[in-house]
Symmetry: C2
Subunit: 210 residues, 2 copies
């Protein structure tokens, strides 16, 4: 299919598709002539993934590009690729990881992870992300209790191991594994968020008698 058909099938304007091609989010089509290239189903699928990450997950274009680059680097082993993709989805580095409050929160995070017996790399950016949230909660006068964190973590792990990770085809094509991981992280993450807000509304109505 040509670019105009790819555009029609996906609903993405041609200039935007060209932009994604430039940014390396979408692989080049197969050149059939100097001014003609063919696109296929894989491009359409990739385009849908890009739009889902951008529009639902608000993942920056630059982050998507990093993930794609890891997929396309055939020399990278699958677990490294998945790790790269995963870390790319972390929020951009927080400003504070230096002060005393953050260090203390960071220690609470270490203790939590150790207590759960989780296997998380010491340099995972996720650790600082969580610590930063604890700092903010403290500053707002609503510190998170160990019990609450622990409970959230237990529930999270159950769902992750039962669904998110159980469904990843680790030994299939690399592209598919990353796709499944990213969809699990971003789209189901968002689904979780929305369900939480729905549950909050329902509980609020129940408590306040609508």
């Amino acid at each position: 299919m040509r670019i105009s058909q790819l555009s029609a099938a996906s609903g993405v304007p041609i200039p935007t598709i060209k932009y994604y091609l430039r940014e390396g989010l979408l692989p080049q089509g197969e050149q059939t002539a100097a001014t003609r290239a063919e696109y296929d189903e894989a491009h359409l699928r990739r385009l849908r993934l890009i739009r889902a990450l951008l529009e639902v997950g608000r993942v920056p274009v630059a982050t998507i590009a990093k993930i794609i680059a890891a997929v396309e680097d055939e020399d990278m082993p699958v677990h490294t690729m998945l790790g790269t993709a995963h870390y790319a989805l972390a929020s951009p580095a927080e400003p504070s990881p230096g002060d005393a409050e953050h260090v203390r929160a960071r220690e609470r995070v270490e203790a939590l992870i150790a207590g759960l017996g989780w296997d998380v790399k010491p340099e995972a950016p996720t650790r600082d992300e969580l610590a930063e949230i604890l700092v903010r909660l403290d500053q707002l006068g609503m510190p998170a209790t160990d019990e609450r964190l622990r409970d959230y973590a237990d529930v999270t792990m159950r769902l992750v191991s039962e669904y998110d990770m159980a469904l990843i085809p680790f030994h299939g094509p690399r592209e598919t594994a990353v796709e499944t991981l990213v969809i699990g992280t971003v789209l189901y993450g968002k689904a979780f968020d929305v369900l939480r807000r729905l549950a909050q509304e329902s509980e609020s109505a129940r408590i306040l008698g609508t």
Copy 2:
């Protein structure tokens, strides 16, 4: 305290504080003279809330302004105020709520909510948000099973009723109730997200034998 002290105490630059004042995120200080105003602890607290929502939750300034406006409208009953704040936190309207796919997904959402016995207003934007995610998952060839959605929802409701809503001082000052709700939605929502990513990393390491 004067603006320079507020700035020093919060770490937010003076021009940024002035910007928040202009946008109505922060109430005016008490004017003590034509060119002098006094700020207090409430301003500092509000500033910390704003920064947490912006930096951790990535909530747009315009959305924060809407929430503040609801708090400041003394005529608005508490449950209306909480509803307003809550809906303001929904993602900006999705583009598709018209086509056939979305309508079908929307019906699945209705069925889910009904099946759970949740009390959610028919016009809640959250319904469309969830439907939109289901549409994307379908398009990506990874449709969400009813079982998975149901399981996510059950777990979510347990945590929400046990923590998020249980801790809201519904009958205290209106400002505090909204603050608690918003923190519960945004900061704990983010904490959940980070815990999920930590759990995913740990599971991935376990499965791939690191």
